[in-house]
Symmetry: C3
Subunit: 466 residues, 3 copies
């Protein structure tokens, strides 16, 4: 089912070059510095539930496509917040999914699932209504076996390090369990402070209060609040974190006076900040986080541009992260100026930028990353984590920022079994891009080989200090 | 002149796949759900005038290119509103056009005209100054023959259904004539309410008054106005319409209270709405139209983003649709929210979105269409109805929205003889795109064959209920 | 080192076509209508200093990339405004540059430098740490020989005409020296009035005063100011200029009443114009410049969209043009309307538009240039003056504007030795694009040959009246 030449160019000369480059990187370990897998999987090492839970119910790429064609999320087993009835028979969900499989033609979801079916579960028939039951039974049986438990898969996937993402309020209990278990798998956390730095996050004031409790700081004051954040960053760092992650609506940063920041913080805590003030406060907190990064060495990641929960109906019925976050135009040049004026020229600080707005690649991000020592560009992200998306990324970024202001791939996924597939797609697409450069005599093959290795393995380790 | 492999990839393997896919769809009937041909042609079935009128004087793609290089529109026979002198000898216009034919190198106009010359008129010489007279004479002779009258061409073009576009104030007389004539050609209308829902349209208040007269409703009141629109939609539906079409400047929608909407309507009628109020009223009317679509089942089309009549000089001298409408950046995520919050999750409602701003394909449109059941994406439109434009559309839309949230091709043209050419270009470009997916082992060829058929024929029938 | 097929498509059929097309244009003379070389080079004809000065210290493409990876500009010999210590040994700079050479993989800087090394200096080893010293010595020796002086290289590069860019306050002394020297090389100037039309330019009022002194006009009055500008344009024209150049932050134009313009000018002179008023004044001056172009026939160029000196630290330490100008989103449709309403339909006037915002190619620029007789599109510019950038430019511009509303290539460079390389890249990329059109049967090869010649030579001469 998986062709060895998939994603390589059709032209024989370029294809041969791509094959050779890919052969060098195909089996390199996976370094996954940013993602949303559940640390409990590796702490508890319990079996995964069933094929529908593993591949459909928790994967918004999967169920949003069926929903877009009129399939109610309830029929796909997505839990309702009000506890209303949803389909609970995983086999029925699986069959429904199989009947709509043709919707995924030409999408990365198709590539990821076929890769997981074949490489993880040895399924070699084509998925569809006719084979759904047999494949369901086969995967289901696999899942009950020890070699399909999370830790075994982690090892089989050849993962060198895997980062999860947690709130500052998280106890990191599962990460502790993993470390104390004697298991050698390296699962680390990343510090995602949105719940305590975004005045519009649900329960912001209570979250800040809890932050105080956890750290013993008086988070009712600006000084105590900053100290608590620094303290919590240390706690995360001690649990292995090498990075922070910031999921803001825009890339706005600010560099306010202490008095202004303090006043804004007060308004935010009292719940009286206007939307503009909340935005300004988030911007200020990015600059504060950058300042703390200079102190503690955590690498900073900024993922702006998603208009979250676009449909109130879906949000009220099913909650967050249900496939209804929509990208918007995102400006970087003005937005980042305050932070960059302060810290952009610091070679000891790293800010990794992502975008959902491809227009910013060649216009803003590559020119910025091509000059500021502190900036690096994250890989093609989310809706662009796909063959065409990755190709456009390389074509639009490389000429101005080069390869070495980028940081390799990250999978950003909660779908554990798709991790090898996603890294494989990235390696193949990068090799295909490099093969074109070689075939067009824009790069020598020995150099391309080194770049392929950098993109697959070395750059991510260096950028994330792994 | 027309090479059988035109628009297919040059790589032999991909080209062979493209050939096989195209062979499956090349002769499928044409379904044209959106266009601007003149229903009088099919009602009266009179001969077309002459080559210059057919191919130059009425085709803004043709004359705008010559105008851009300094050829006055008067010399191209484009009528002046003030009745001022323009060239009236079609042969002179034709010769002038032929002398500038090289301007069209690399443009779709060149592809369309060569296709029409060869497939409609059996012209196999290359067009240019040396052949202009002979080709003129040949086409002119053809046009006098019965097999080149509109109905005969309609049949020869293998058009299964053709939609025209009319104002709500239109009597649809020609459509009536066609239906009563016994001729089997299916020519339907589409409901384009811009003249009665846009307060800035010339004669808006008078148009609304006329709408009242036509329907027997009191359109001086909000209630009567809405009733009149619903009534007129029914009238169009009875004449075969399956869709409405909305040519707004932006994609803004609104969901106002009844009192607010009523007040805005009053201002619009009295001609005292500010530009912002006019824009808000148009946005409200999109939501009203969506509501009516849920009632009567007409599919809704939104074509935003053109800054119409950019040059006052051209507008005052020659009027609308003279090649001086210019695309602008168009935002969808916020703009559509009010309408989508109301109706976006309704699987029984269809809103087909178009854009002139390619940046929205991967950033906004595909993510929106990939989740909302009510949304579908129209094909690459207007300036993007071209090989490169269509390719970019598939590359940027497919990975997030799939193929099945798109609706096949439409030609959107008033140039009747270019219809087969335009559909042929779309089929070829889609087959070329699919061939690349197959050659890169991202899709199996049997699936690609099914998708090619869907894109060329089945999707458009389903989306437009034809 | 330089492969004869570089930048051609890998597919053998397309590559063969590209080879044939390129063979027709490879040795055509270079016409360079816009750039920033120093006229003193050709007036004084002194030897170039050393390899580091020639290729690194003055080339912001080169040193910005190393800076982005943490190399201080001081170590690269970039002079500090405060006279602070910087590296002064060119060999050390050269070695440092060589150690970071891999950063340029996939960038146009790599292509330009390798081309210069091999074609100008006969270097055929690969550049890098191991060969840095030998290459340094070799180039250094070359530079001391008469055939590597500026005029000899100018002739060897087969430059038919080269334009530099000067301020209206410049005496054009070097251009005078060149003309009087008896040397046949055609080096002309271009009129860049930013220092006297931008109220936010350093020393604006003093500059306007100096303009008055130079011209004998009373530039304290609006009338005198306009007369002085017209006078100075004549002075430039007499020194060979055929064009003006305008480096505005946005494309805003204005068409104010005389009274409004006069009042704005007064505020600008007194230093009390707000930023919005300064912007409006710049916009008005574009329209004034267009009016003067109709009188004196100078072709007008508009280069908007750079956010200059993004990092205050770099600006304060090293000054302008140090690689920290960042592109921003740029709007044209509304911004140009005032100017186009006045002069856009004048076939005798030419406004050449550039952009740093590729999203405007297909959405705004090609549609505008495809209808207004006065508009032409400049080539892919600055960060987009690269293989991928040029390819996207042709793919996004050609279908709507054709080839003949573009003006051929210009190098816009201060790096003299890169001029042949840049023109060679442009010719190769254009031939590769044309080869694809031919291979896909969208253009006949004889036509493509003519277009290749037009793009490489004829269009630029026509557009710039050279």
């Amino acid at each position: 089912m998986l062709h060895p030449d998939r994603l390589f160019p059709a032209d024989p000369e370029s294809r041969n070059i791509a094959r050779r480059l890919y052969a060098e990187v195909a089996s390199l370990p996976i370094v996954s510095p940013h993602g949303h897998t559940d640390p409990a999987w590796f702490a508890l090492n319990e079996p995964f539930a069933d094929p529908a839970t593993l591949f459909v119910i928790r994967d918004h790429y999967a169920f949003r496509m069926l929903y877009s064609q009129g399939v109610p999320l309830e029929q796909l087993g997505v839990p309702r917040l009000d506890g209303g009835a949803v389909e609970t028979d995983p086999r029925q969900i699986w069959r429904l999914f199989a009947r709509h499989w043709s919707l995924f033609r030409g999408t990365p979801t198709r590539l990821w699932l076929e890769h997981a079916f074949e490489t993880v579960f040895d399924v070699t028939e084509r998925f569809g209504p006719d084979t759904a039951d047999a494949i369901y039974d086969h995967i289901n049986t696999c899942l009950s076996r020890p070699e399909f438990r999370p830790r075994a898969l982690f090892e089989r996937f050849n993962i060198e390090v895997l980062a999860t993402t947690e709130s500052p309020l998280d106890t990191l209990e599962h990460h502790g369990t993993i470390r104390q278990s004697g298991w050698k798998g390296r699962v680390i956390t990343a510090f995602r402070p949105d719940p305590v730095v975004d005045p519009e996050f649900e329960g912001f004031a209570a979250n800040v209060g809890q932050l105080g409790t956890l750290t013993g700081e008086n988070t009712a004051t600006w000084t105590g609040y900053l100290a608590a954040l620094a303290n919590r960053r240390q706690f995360f760092k001690a649990a292995g974190a090498t990075s922070t992650d910031h999921g803001h609506r825009t890339a706005l940063t600010a560099d306010l006076s202490r008095a202004e920041a303090e006043q804004l913080f007060g308004k935010a805590l009292r719940g009286v900040a206007t939307p503009a003030e909340a935005e300004l406060f988030r911007g200020q907190m990015l600059t504060e986080m950058a300042r703390m990064s200079l102190d503690d060495g955590l690498v900073m990641q900024l993922h702006p541009g998603a208009d979250r929960n676009h449909s109130p109906l879906l949000f009220e019925r099913f909650g967050r992260d249900k496939g209804c976050d929509i990208p918007t135009a995102t400006e970087y040049v003005s937005a980042l100026r305050p932070l960059l004026n302060r810290f952009g020229n610091e070679a000891g600080f790293t800010l990794i930028l992502f975008t959902l707005d491809e227009t910013s690649y060649s216009r803003e991000l590559a020119p910025l990353a091509g000059v500021y020592p502190a900036l690096r560009l994250g890989p093609a992200w989310w809706f662009h984590d796909s063959p065409e998306g990755m190709r456009r990324y390389r074509e639009m970024v490389t000429e101005t920022a080069g390869f070495y202001n980028t940081v390799g791939f990250n999978d950003d996924t909660r779908a554990f079994c798709s991790i090898p597939a996603r890294h494989d797609v990235a390696r193949r697409v990068d090799c295909a891009f490099l093969a074109r450069l070689v075939a067009e005599h824009r790069l020598d093959e020995d150099e391309a080989r080194e770049v392929a290795h950098d993109l697959a393995y070395r750059l991510v380790k260096r950028a994330y200090k792994l």
